[in-house]
Amino acid sequence: MTLKILLLTAFGGAFVTYFLGKVSSKLRNYFAVFVSLTLFVAVACLYGKSAENFSYFKFFGNTLVLRVNSLSWFFAAAVSAFGALSVIFSLDYMKGKENLDFYYMMMLLVNAAMLGIVFAADLVSFFVFWEIMSWSTFLLISYSGKNALPAGIKYIVMSLIGSMAMFFGILSIYVNFHTLIISEIARGIVSASSGYKIFILVLFGVTFGIKSAVMPLHTWLPDAYTESPTPFSAVLSGMLTRMGVYGFLLFFYVVAGASFFFDIDAGISKFNYILCWLGAITIVIPTFIAMLQNDAKKLLAWHGIGQGGYMILGIAFGTSLGLAGGILHTLNYSICIVLLFMSVGAVEYRCGGVRDLNSLGGLIKKMPVAFAGALLGISGLIGLPLTNSFVSKWLIYKTLILKSHPFLAFAALIGTWGTILSVYKFLHNNFLGELPEKYENIRKSPVSMQIPIIILSSAILLFGILPGIPLKVINTIITSFGFNSLNVNLWGIASETGTLNTINIFTAILIAGSVIWMLFRVGKKSFPVTQDDNYAAGAYVPAGKYNYTADFYAPLFKIVKPYLMDFADKFFGWLCRVFTGFSEGVRKIYAGDVGYYVLYILFFAALLFFVQSGGKSW
């Protein structure tokens, strides 16, 4: 019953928000925040509960059911948390824009749909919520108009391709196993032939591959992330794209079953490795493409693709360690990227919508909170020790090394290298270097932006120092998949080849840090300089003369650019042109001459005549 009420609140809240907006915009804003926070609290209260198959509706005589277990709780908690934070962030960011009633309604609707997805225990509910999520996302991406419109179309077309594949798969399962309930399908599918399993997994693989932007299917993502309103970019990158990861987990480990990966059949094991390699490619190429971007959001968007690769890599391996790493990285990455999008949003908000990395810079003193957020966010993305992603990346590397896949591990390492280069550019060009004169009078980010940034920054450190908090939940998830339990404690993880103890690292860093601090204290006194006090190759640079942020990495660009074409995007673009040309041709069937039209009728009759006579009249 609780789940039903929770979803009703989520969906009902979205619509009520719209109508409240007609009364008063203040009331609407508070209500939206209230709804999203209520949902978070409600989901949090479900912690540790495990209720299977709670029916709530009849659809064509099929019972639709909801359930909560550790997997759905984990994702639901993340969805509602990020949802609430981005609604709070929207308060100031969206102030003064038009159609706000619609905007808040859609934000809450997307959230509600995602909660529906993770709580759905049957495939029709899953699909229905999935589609509601798709179309409301489409509307939100298109919200800003102009460039956002093609981005929206690109998103929805790819999303529809994925949904149709899933639709086909779901009904095929239904027809074969006469049930829609996931746990029953999982029992039934054991007896299915491996060919059928692969067929189903390919169909769902396409769907979730598109949603989580695995490499050749990623092309919708950069535009969509860039063109959405920034708080929604955060939701999009933080959770919506990761619904693909949830889908992978659900279909690979719950529906198809973990045994699928263990009863290794030559044909099937390849499927898993194909996915691993796609994951690896997804790590490497996008992180370098990210480096080339000059739009802050686009840079982050490409990281959204790249980091997704780590998750897929971890999940596709199908070992306790890898799976834990993949799932943990989903959460950790989401925290980082939401934080980064919010920092960009804050900068964008104060600098009049500018995101161009060539023209920003030096905002560190003007917007310290946004800077701190960005710094922690990029540290997280890179995976520096004491940040959350360090743990998840450690788990993934460990898996790759344990399973002796040096090439995949190498790819993952290169990815990290690319990440360092590109996120440094991000940090530097936004916050470091010289402050352009026009931004002299920038004020701090508003409180409604600072709150989410501070919360997320603390989460990065908290989960970095005490990774046991999320890992405990993840441990119950992987044991529910039928994997061995990991030896997890609050400050780390013990595995057969080495132990991770974040408290030790924390202490070590604390000690090293205080030693350095002491050295500075006893050493020569430092003196503060202004931001304009710059030197280039020993020569003094007059203030405002040079902006170091322009053409960052220019020499590197020249070297790598030829190799970093987005071939997939080119290919899809070509496909679209071919299709357009083709449809132009098909259109000519209706040439406008009624004489032809009558001929069509006669030809059709003749053809039918011929077919029906069984060719005898020949």
Binding site: F60, I132, S134, M164, R587, I601, F604, L608, V611
Partner: protein, 497 residues
């Protein structure tokens, strides 16, 4: 004894000829007639579900007289026709104001009469007569704009020419059957055909499909449709798209299933034709700049999907097809009506002295702010046509895919191909939705304030959402309808005497 279903045909027919006598009040006649039919057919549904009603006309026993066969299928269609007819005529109250207003109402009622007659009759020649009433009033209604510009006339003449070729085929087929068996009663004919071992029976069957196929707009017999649907005024486009072409599909299916017992070769041809119609329709719609032509081509696509579902020739397939007919009727009528109102408002602002019925997609930009309810209606209709939940289009697509997969094998593969059409559909409809809501346009001074126009939007949208969430309300009647189509023996057995 409940009321006689004959009234379903007689009342609108009578009203059609009373309408011209009523002068100014003529516009209230069609809603009244359609409402009467709607109420009557809903009252009849429980009775008909128990057992079909046979009404002999003229006092002779069948097969010597014309009889009505009011089964679940017939009453379902009659209810759908009168529902659509009622909502569209309310809309037309204020929409149709110019020129041949009186004639419009007569023709509109005749169209409804013809459509209702086709689905209720049990006599093949009678079916042809009603079919012709439907077609001829359609030709005339297409040319409703003829006073204003020649496109209306041109489209009507093209439609007339193609429609006549089709009718000629049908008449030939009926003549042949009458020649072979000496009867026109469908149950009687079915009995004879079932017993006959003639190798020439495929000729009338072929002619029937080619003839009814013109009205049903299957590929490649549908070239009249984009012209006719786009130049006619919105209520006409809506009734054409929502009802008229579905009647063509009904006629094909009645003949193929009931008279000829659905031979596999015909069904496979219909399946392929349906698939081709779907793909060609959607692909053509993709490249249209004119909003009404785009919707017209989308109708072709949807009809293709309906024919595809029927072509499966299983109970679930036919049920799915009928569900898709309902869903298409509701959604497409809403779509055409909303488009019509948008065009009307733009025209009233920009060219008050010109009669514009079609418009470029770009002209709708930015209307979302000025006409929020109409735009919402359009978006709901478009989403439903694409098949997004929780709208009715999703339920019907679900049933169709399920039916195809139940049949398995090659049918599943063809279904997979058919799903590509959904993606194309999504691409072109959502572009328009984006334009309406998120593009800037010159829409100053446009308002929506006509209650008579907005009420049908509201009812249709409510039905689309309600039936999308509770599709179960339709399953009972649709299941018995598909049962009726498949149960040929039962149909023959109903022949009295």
């Amino acid at each position: 004894m409940v009321v006689s279903p004959v009234l379903l045909i007689a009342v609108p027919l009578l009203l059609a000829f009373i309408a011209p006598l009523c002068g100014k009040a003529a516009k209230y006649i069609p809603p009244a007639g359609a409402l009467f039919n709607l109420i009557l057919s809903v009252i009849l549904i429980p009775t008909v579900l128990k057992s079909p009603m046979i009404v002999s006309i003229g006092g002779f026993p069948p097969p010597f007289c014309i009889n009505l066969f009011v089964g679940p299928l017939g009453i379902f269609f009659a209810a759908l026709i009168s529902l659509a007819g009622f909502l569209i005529s309310i809309y037309a109250l204020s929409y149709i104001r110019e020129r041949a207003v009186g004639k419009y109402h007569t023709l509109y009622l005749l169209l409804l009469t013809g459509a209702t007659g086709v689905v209720l009759t049990g006599d093949i020649f009678n079916l042809f007569v009603f079919y012709e009433i439907l077609c001829i009033s359609s030709y005339a209604l297409t040319a409703h704009n003829a006073h204003w510009h020649r496109h209306g006339t041109e489209a009507a003449v093209k439609y007339l020419i193609q429609g006549s070729v089709g009718s000629a085929f049908i008449l030939l087929a009926i003549g042949m059957l009458y020649g072979f068996f000496g009867t026109l009663n469908m149950a009687d004919l079915a009995k004879h055909i079932a017993r006959a071992h003639s190798s020439v029976l495929f000729i009338p069957l072929t002619f029937f499909i080619a003839g009814f196929g013109v009205e049903a707009a299957i590929f490649p017999l549908n070239a009249w449709l984009p012209d006719a649907h786009s130049v006619s005024p919105a209520p006409i486009s809506a009734i054409f798209s929502g009802i008229a072409i579905e009647i063509g599909v009904y006629a094909i299916m009645r003949v193929v299933f009931t008279l000829f017992g659905a031979p596999l070769s015909v069904m496979s041809v219909l399946l392929i034709v349906g698939l081709l119609t779907l793909l060609v329709g959607e692909i053509c719609a993709f490249r249209q700049n004119n909003i009404k032509r785009m919707s017209a081509y989308s109708s072709i696509g949807q009809i293709g999907l309906i024919v595809f579902a029927f072509g499966l020739a299983t109970k679930s397939g036919i049920t799915a097809g009928l569900f898709q007919i309902t869903s298409h009727a509701l959604s497409k009528i809403l779509l055409f009506l909303t488009i019509g109102y948008m065009i009307y408002s733009i025209r009233m602002k920009n060219y008050p002295d010109k009669y514009v019925t079609e418009i470029e997609i770009n002209s709708l930009n930015g209307l979302g702010k000025k006409m929020p309810l109409t735009s919402l209606g359009f978006a709901i209709a478009a989403f439903s046509l694409i098949g997004f939940p929780p709208f009715i289009g999703f339920s019907s697509k679900l049933l169709i895919v399920k039916a195809a997969l139940l049949k398995g094998g090659i049918y599943a593969v063809l279904m997979g191909i058919a799903l590509i059409a959904t993606v194309i559909e999504g691409a072109y409809f959502l572009k328009v939705v984006q334009g309406i809501y998120f593009r800037k346009g010159e829409v100053e001074g446009i308002k929506e304030n006509n209650v008579f126009i907005l009420v049908p939007f509201f009812i249709l949208a409510a039905l689309i959402i309600f039936a999308g969430i509770y599709p179960g309300i339709l399953t009972k009647i649709l299941n018995s309808s598909s049962g009726e189509l498949l149960n040929r023996i039962g149909y023959i057995g109903r022949l009295p005497g």
